[in-house]
Symmetry: none
DNA sequence: CATGAATGAGTTTTCATTCAT
DNA sequence: CATGAATGAAAACTCATTCAT
């Protein structure tokens, strides 16, 4: 199983193109091979099976996605600023590649539980990023102490993801990065100490 | 196409059971028929085809789900209280039927675009409920004026949905309704006037 | 098995209509029942099964067809005149009922060997008619002596049938009975003593 | 869609065998594949679908049939001699392959209108052959001037076809080519100038 | 006599994967 | 390394017929 080489990249990219264009259930291995300019059998020299290919697509693309975000977060910014960077990077990167956005937001979700579990593992790294921002914010005293990490993370990811999915489902018709500001504002409010206390 | 009768209900319920147990892609019509105690062909007396059955499952179950929520929201409560009711009803109803929660949160999302579009139509009514709460809150002056409806709605639905999905993926291991309070708190903060202003 | 009654006729006629309109393979029992204004099960009070119904359609309609021809041939006409009457009656009767012509010339031929064997039995009576004309003609001395009955009959029936089928396949676009004259002329020539002798 | 190769031939021949033996409606793709010694899926590498296979069977076999006839007719024979060749070739070729004769005379007629339309296109070439003989005969002055081409063609084809079909339905029990002479005689008589004039 | 809801057997086609070249 | 022809398992849907009412 060769894991690298020019054809490896070609196949990954071909898969993104084909899935974006024809949809997950119409993306047969032979169609991806043709798009990549290789024989069907060649796919199996680089990937164990179709599921492995799809997971690899997500790994490679989401890996780059996460790394870029990680790099931008290495600054000494405050937690609030970092959250802003996270949201902005998320929206900007999806905007930079419409096809990829279709694949990750819509098509790769039509997979079975097993495949999504593997996709979940990749996402773990991203969720960890969010967690570290939350931790920072609590240490800085700007986010509510003793908050439920998991819930906060779910609000952040859920909001960002829902916003991104709606944008894709609306055919990328509006400016997604422009929403980073308002979304960030809402999330910060939701997490901040200086906010409504329902126990008042 | 008979749309009522005891067998109609039986088939719908059998579909939920089978999908929850075996997963969407392993839920053959014959398996559902067997579970319902009818012949394969009988399914087609009540549903046009398999897709129609699946949409009907979502319609029937989600319809009841939304109606119950609507009824609870007919009170004269404040927008903040209504949002609390919405979150609580959402979590309570999912808790009341584990199988249904698996089907709606995990399995029915593995469907193709066409089926999901039809599912989206049903969800529209739920999103409208959220919108009306947001409108109330703005009129009451507790939610930020001129907020982006769509974004706010996406935060609310995204957060609730992500929280619910995580709960199902963690095998219902913890008390979901107990999270209604904190989730509600975060959402209200996110939307309220009395919160952090990043432009400060 | 009731063999008569108003519903028997209704069902037969409904079958002709449905087959003519939808084609043999799209003529389900339920469709015929609906057209006849009876319940599906009622068909089985009058006919043993679907094949029996189809054979009965052919029997009833072809029976009348043949009887009318037989009646016209009871005259003391010459064999040549009788052949003319036969061809003319054939074309006129098909022209009188377009739907029936579609059913007998096109649709009922799409049946399996078994059903066509039964249809063949009904046709036997018609072929006997032809044979008796041939016999007359030989006795009169106008048709070739010692001719091969079977071959002559096949030429007559084959020609008439092929002509009729072509007319139906051309959507009854031209005047079929007008062809009776020329067809008759050709057939008589083919059979007559006063014609080309290839052994010359 | 591979249109050639040894398996293409094998599948075509297997189809003829299976249809001749089991009948059109009992000739499942899997049965044909088994007879051809290939996997079911292999059929679909060579044919678009089952209908395409059946049309191809007719095309290939009837194509050869027609070509052989065309070749025999390239001589400088008279129209009458050519007609003799046509009839003889027709009967001889059917006699040379009993299975094929069953398929073309009985089984392939049980198809729906769509399939028969495609079969009709292939037959067109054969009917053109007949037409050209008729034209020759008229130019030679041996066939009636200003005759109705279509009618004459229908007599010739109808007679030959009916004769062949009867022979097959009688289980090939007699010598079909031996009938070429008498059939030819009848047809020539039917068409000739030196014959009975009913207007006498 | 009549109904019509229910039955369940039966077939085409797709496509991930293999392996001889 | 690369090819691509071949494999064969798997599933939705139809419709003639029955039988309880």
């Amino acid at each position: 199983m060769k894991r690298k080489g020019p054809k490896y990249e070609k196949i990954i990219d071909a898969a993104v193109n084909v899935i974006a264009e024809h949809g997950y259930h119409q993306s047969q291995v032979s169609k991806i091979a043709k798009e990549a300019g290789v024989a069907d059998g060649t796919i199996y020299l680089y990937f164990k099976n179709k599921e492995d290919l799809l997971v690899s697509v997500f790994n490679e693309k989401m890996g780059t996605f996460i790394e870029k975000t990680e790099n931008e977060l290495k600054s000494n910014d405050s937690a609030i600023q970092k959250l802003r960077i996270l949201v902005e990077m998320h929206f900007k990167q999806l905007t930079a590649d419409f096809e990829l956005s279709i694949v990750t937001q819509l098509e790769l979700r039509q997979t079975n539980r097993q495949l999504r579990a593997k996709i979940g593992e990749v996402l773990k790294r991203y969720l960890d990023l969010i967690d570290s921002i939350l931790k920072d914010g609590m240490q800085e005293g700007v986010f509510v102490k003793n908050m439920d990490y998991r819930l906060a993370r779910q609000m952040i990811f859920g909001t960002i993801d829902e916003t991104a999915t709606n944008w894709v489902m609306n055919d990328h018709r509006y400016d997604l990065p422009a929403l980073a500001g308002p979304v960030h504002q809402m999330l910060v409010n939701g997490l901040s100490v200086r906010s409504v206390n329902l126990d008042d």
